[in-house]
């Protein structure tokens, strides 16, 4: 189908949905927005800021000062602007995803464009957080924009988008390395024919310098907006110290509700470091196709980040549309799909049993987040397998592939 027709239709549909009278409960849903991305908290922070109270002095507001300055000056938040803005973010993300696909295929347009846009715009894991006005939608947009510019070889815009992303969500710093490497290579699929990655350390350092420059500028801007440094602990600190144990579909919160306080620092270190250790191995193993490495890291990020919402796995799932060459090497796509189906039903159900109906307890919801973790893990492992397996190609009859 024609992309020029399907894309506007999808965006228009999304806009209509954004204006539909959906229950306010969506905004407070723990699965759709975390304390770091919740819309009511953003509104609260903007209100406090406009009335001359430091929003970071309480434990409520954990959004970046950049969002604070944007929404308290240029873009006032109300029902109309936020519906338009959030839909626009998703529209840009879908468009960026299509651009990445085109860059990977080195074509100016293809028959798959519409499908890719649809996979992004109709993905319920992404649709629902957008309807709940979770700022994770903005984070996803920045990630995809950064990836798009990196795929097109535009260094500065890509690193600027990445710097903005890291400002909004510190754990996304795991994308710095792959994004720089992608800028130094190209997004064309080389999964089937691996080769060594050749570059100079100096060029990596140059890109890193640019990134740090942007980050420094943005941080200064934040300090300028707030007039002090308290926001650092409330925003970035939250991603490391996990002060707010509001339930979410991730793996961190329950673990830390159960923990004795004197073990907390140690396990916070372990959990944070765990997120980082994947970066180098994945980039080394997929050095021939850095875009794929970024995709794998997006999966790691969605599974193990401190305050995930449904939109993080949603991004990972929608990114799979860029790599159709791996589909035939996936080992258990139906099992992963069914796991996701189960967890997508169990999460809201057990959440309801625990917090609305009162017949269940926290362990119910925790169990469903474990199922969700397993389904994300299964998708991730299968993606890694398929990405490596494709290089071997079809096996002759009677042969088996083993890993040593």
């Amino acid at each position: 189908m024609d992309f020029g027709l399907v894309y506007p239709a999808l965006v228009a549909g999304r806009l209509l949905l954004a204006f539909a009278p959906l229950p306010d409960a969506l905004k407070h849903d723990h699965q759709l927005s975390s304390p770091l991305t919740s819309y009511p908290r953003l509104q609260e922070g903007v209100y406090l800021f406009q009335h001359g109270i430091d929003p970071y002095s309480g434990g409520l507001f954990r959004h970046s000062p950049l969002l604070l300055s944007l929404f308290s000056t240029a873009l006032p938040l109300n029902k109309f602007t936020s519906a338009c803005l959030w839909t626009a973010c998703d529209a840009i993300s879908a468009w960026a995803l299509v651009k990445i696909w085109r860059a990977r295929q080195r074509v100016s347009q293809s028959s798959r464009d519409s499908l890719i846009a649809a996979i992004y715009l109709l993905n319920p894991y992404l649709l629902l957080p957008t309807l709940a006005l979770s700022t994770s939608t903005i984070e996803n947009m920045l990630f995809l924009l950064s990836l798009m510019f990196a795929s097109q070889g535009q260094s500065s815009p890509s690193l600027l988008a990445l710097a903005l992303l890291v400002q909004l969500s510190l754990p996304s710093a795991i994308f710095i390395v792959p994004m720089i490497l992608l800028l130094l290579s190209d997004p064309v699929s080389r999964l089937a024919s691996p080769r060594e990655f050749n570059t100079y350390l100096s060029s990596i350092l140059a890109k890193l310098g640019t990134f740090l420059g942007f980050s420094f500028a943005l941080t200064s801007l934040s300090v300028l907006v707030c007039g002090n440094w308290t926001w650092v602990e409330q925003t970035w600190g939250a991603a490391v110290m996990l002060p707010d144990l509001t339930p979410n579909p991730g793996l961190w919160w329950y673990f830390f509700t159960e923990m004795f306080d004197h073990f907390r620092p140690f396990f916070l270190m372990v959990f944070s470091a765990h997120l980082l250790i994947y970066v180098l191995p994945v980039c080394l193993k997929f050095q021939h196709d850095i875009l794929y490495a970024t995709y794998i890291l997006a999966g790691v990020y969605a599974t193990f980040k401190p305050y995930p919402t449904l939109s993080d796995p949603g991004l990972f799932i929608s990114l799979i549309s860029l790599f159709p060459e791996t589909y035939q090497y996936l080992r258990y796509p139906i099992v992963t799909t069914l796991l996701h189906l189960h967890s997508a039903l169990l999460l809201p159900l057990f959440h309801h049993l625990w917090l609305s109906q009162g017949t269940g307890n926290a362990n119910f919801f925790y169990a469903s987040t474990l199922v969700f973790g397993v389904s994300n893990g299964a998708a991730l492992l299968d993606a890694i397998w398929a990405g490596l397996r494709i290089a071997v190609g079809n096996l002759p009859e009677g042969y088996e592939l083993i890993q040593k």
Partner: protein, 636 residues
């Protein structure tokens, strides 16, 4: 250095058994295992299915289940002296006489409410009335509730206990004795200073509507079609509630009704405490619902028992059989309420707001119990609830009561449904794998053999995933359309509309008959892919529902298990295909025509009380059966 590393790696490999031979062995074993599973899949899924159904049948077995016990230590049921006595009974009798007078004058419900409020005021308890009206597709109903709130003398009133009686009993008679009990209890309970929670007395109009209006207003939630006065008096969070239903002159047993809307059950501790108190404090035996044990009333045995009469006497006389029959009767009643998401009484409306509530039903009889017994039992039960320091919790919400004092834990009944669900999942996955591989026919193999390529290996082929998914999506969308059409057309309530809808829903999918079979080596047949999705989704729905509403999941497992697992496109003539299709159509949509009363009730439950059952049937159950129907008419 390198040599050392090599040596270490070699040793590690030997230790871990991953040397060449070991790997080969491992692969062989894995392949053998896979082959074994694949070959025995039809048997495995049959065994699982049969085991699941057998387990369901085993649930009422006499030696299953355990005695009920009190889990929450704070409750201390039956540990207090009760002081409700004959003067209070006399007071109840006076209220009863007044109420009977009102009844004989054909007083309107507003007048009765005014009388009740007046009596509460005479007692010095703040009270008020609440008028409401419901507007639905089945007309308008008005009424007036009366309620009174006795503030706790000992605490801040952050928590409350609700005692209620509806004007109309579940039997359809007037619940005058229930109302008199509540008013005279209010007079009596006001005299003690030990209440740590507010006591809320509600005399609701009608059977369910009054309480629905009252509890909705109490929690400040809105409901379309309901116009109710705001409540002028307020209290704290209601933790527990007792609803009194006493329609007869006297009673012989107290029956417990506990199922709430959408299959929510109250904490079992509440039922157990009441049971203990009733037997040991009040001396009144308790029943589940109004089910008397047929063995206790020999002259009514044939009427009360559900054991079919055609069974030989020698079987019927077995004690185990009688026990099985009695337990099965209780379970079936429970499933009837829970699966349909119906409330078994006024208490069920409160569950929505996280209130643990039950109805005490005084089973009408000529004796021996009356106001004296029921007053003492309620007094003691309220004292037990008054002891609570936190809400009832401890996951005592998942149970299956088979006798008043015997229950099954979740682990004893849940696996039955899960086994059926797993069998369906295996069938679906098997179908999915099967769709992938094309087995060349014998003749073509011979041909190939003649050409020197002696291979009978299966050829992979693509599966029409998008096509099958769009059929699935379309059937569910059709279900949504059906739901809205059915709800709208209820106003007219015409039989022709039901028939029309039935034929519309049943005939449109017959377009599938016109589908042309695609070449089996090029692409997998649509029927196989559709069946795979159908079964996987049905299995997911069943296993997920089982935690929320076991009875509904069991009903789904029974109605979908076999039909969906064994749906298959036939190569035979059009007539046989159509016959098969008709069976599925009747299974999926027959309720439109065959159970019109049931449908009306379900839609009323949805509109007025917010029970999800009607919606669930329309958008989950019927579409699933419809997909199986489409599978059966698609080309193989």
């Amino acid at each position: 250095m390198a040599a050392v590393l090599q040596a270490v790696r070699a040793r590690l490999r030997r230790l871990l058994g991953t040397d060449e031979n070991g790997t080969v062995m491992k692969i062989r074993r894995r392949n053998q295992f896979n082959n074994f599973i694949w070959k025995s899949l039809p048997i495995i899924r049959l065994i699982l299915l049969v085991a699941g159904y057998a387990w369901m049948l085993a649930i009422p077995l006499p030696n299953l289940g355990r005695k009920t016990y009190i889990d929450e230590n704070a409750l201390q049921p039956g540990q207090v002296n009760t002081y409700w006595n004959w003067p209070d009974v006399l007071r109840a009798d006076r209220y009863l006489a007044d109420l009977e007078g009102l009844r004989d004058r054909n007083a309107s419900s507003a007048e009765q409410a005014a009388y009740i409020v007046d009596e509460f005021k005479k007692l010095g308890i703040p009270s008020a009335t609440q008028a409401y009206s419901f507007t639905g597709t089945s007309g308008v109903s008005n009424g007036t509730n009366a309620y009174a709130i006795h503030s706790s003398p000992r605490a801040s009133g952050a928590e409350a206990i609700l005692i209620s009686a509806s004007r109309i009993s579940r039997t359809g008679d007037l619940n005058l004795r229930g109302i008199s009990t509540v008013i005279s209890l209010a007079a009596y309970l006001k005299g003690s200073s030990l209440w740590a929670k507010d006591l809320i007395f509600v005399i609701s109009d009608d059977h369910l509507l009054g309480m629905q209006a009252w509890i909705t207003s109490y929690h400040g939630s809105e409901q379309s079609g309901l116009v109710a006065d705001p409540l002028t008096l307020s209290s704290g969070v209601i933790w527990t509630a007792l609803n009194i239903d006493y329609p007869g002159h006297s009673f012989s047993h107290l029956g417990v009704f506990f199922e709430g809307l959408n299959g929510r059950l109250p904490n079992q501790d509440l039922i157990n405490s009441f049971g203990l108190i009733s037997v040991y404090t009040g001396g009144v035996p308790i029943l589940l619902y109004d089910h008397r044990d047929p063995r206790e009333v020999p002259h009514l045995e044939s009427k009360l028992s559900i054991i079919p009469s055609w069974l030989p006497e020698i079987v019927k006389k077995q004690d185990a059989v009688k026990e099985y029959g009695f337990r099965a009767k209780n379970i079936l009643r429970h499933v009837g309420y829970q699966a349909r998401g119906q409330t078994s009484g006024v208490h069920g409306l409160l569950h929505r707001f996280r209130i643990d509530a039950i109805t005490l039903f005084a089973v009408p009889a000529t004796g021996p119990h009356g106001f004296h017994a029921i007053g003492r039992i309620i007094e003691s039960t309220l004292r037990t609830m008054n002891n609570l320091l936190e809400r009832l919790h401890a996951s005592f919400f998942f149970y299956l009561l088979v006798l008043p004092s015997t229950f099954l834990k979740i682990g004893t009944y849940l696996p039955s449904v899960i086994l059926v669900s797993v069998s369906m999942m295996f069938t679906g996955l098997g179908e999915w794998v099967d769709a992938r591989w094309y087995q060349p026919k014998q003749s073509s193999i011979e041909e190939k053999a003649a050409n020197g390529q002696a291979k009978s290996e299966a050829i992979p082929r693509p599966r029409p995933v998008l096509k099958a998914l769009s059929i699935v999506l379309l059937t569910h969308l059709a279900g949504i359309a059906l739901f809205y059409l059915r709800t709208l057309s209820l106003a007219s309530g015409s039989e022709t509309m039901s028939l029309l809808l039935f034929f519309l829903m049943a005939s449109v999918p017959l377009i599938a008959l016109t589908a042309h079979p695609s070449p089996p080596q090029a692409v997998a047949p649509l029927s196989k892919t559709l069946k795979a999705f159908n079964l996987c989704f049905a299995s997911t729905v069943i296993s997920v529902t089982s935690v929320l509403n076991f009875s509904l999941a069991a009903a789904l497992a029974v109605s979908l298990g076999v039909p969906l697992s064994y749906s298959s496109p036939s190569r035979s003539s059009l007539g046989i295909k159509l016959a098969g299709y008709t069976i599925y159509a009747v299974l999926g949509f027959g309720w439109l025509v065959l159970c019109r009363k049931e449908v009306q009730e379900a839609i009323w439950n949805w509109e007025v009380l917010g029970a999800w059952f009607a919606l669930f049937v329309c958008i989950i159950y019927s579409p699933l059966v419809l997909q199986a129907a489409i599978v059966s008419v698609l080309p193989p």
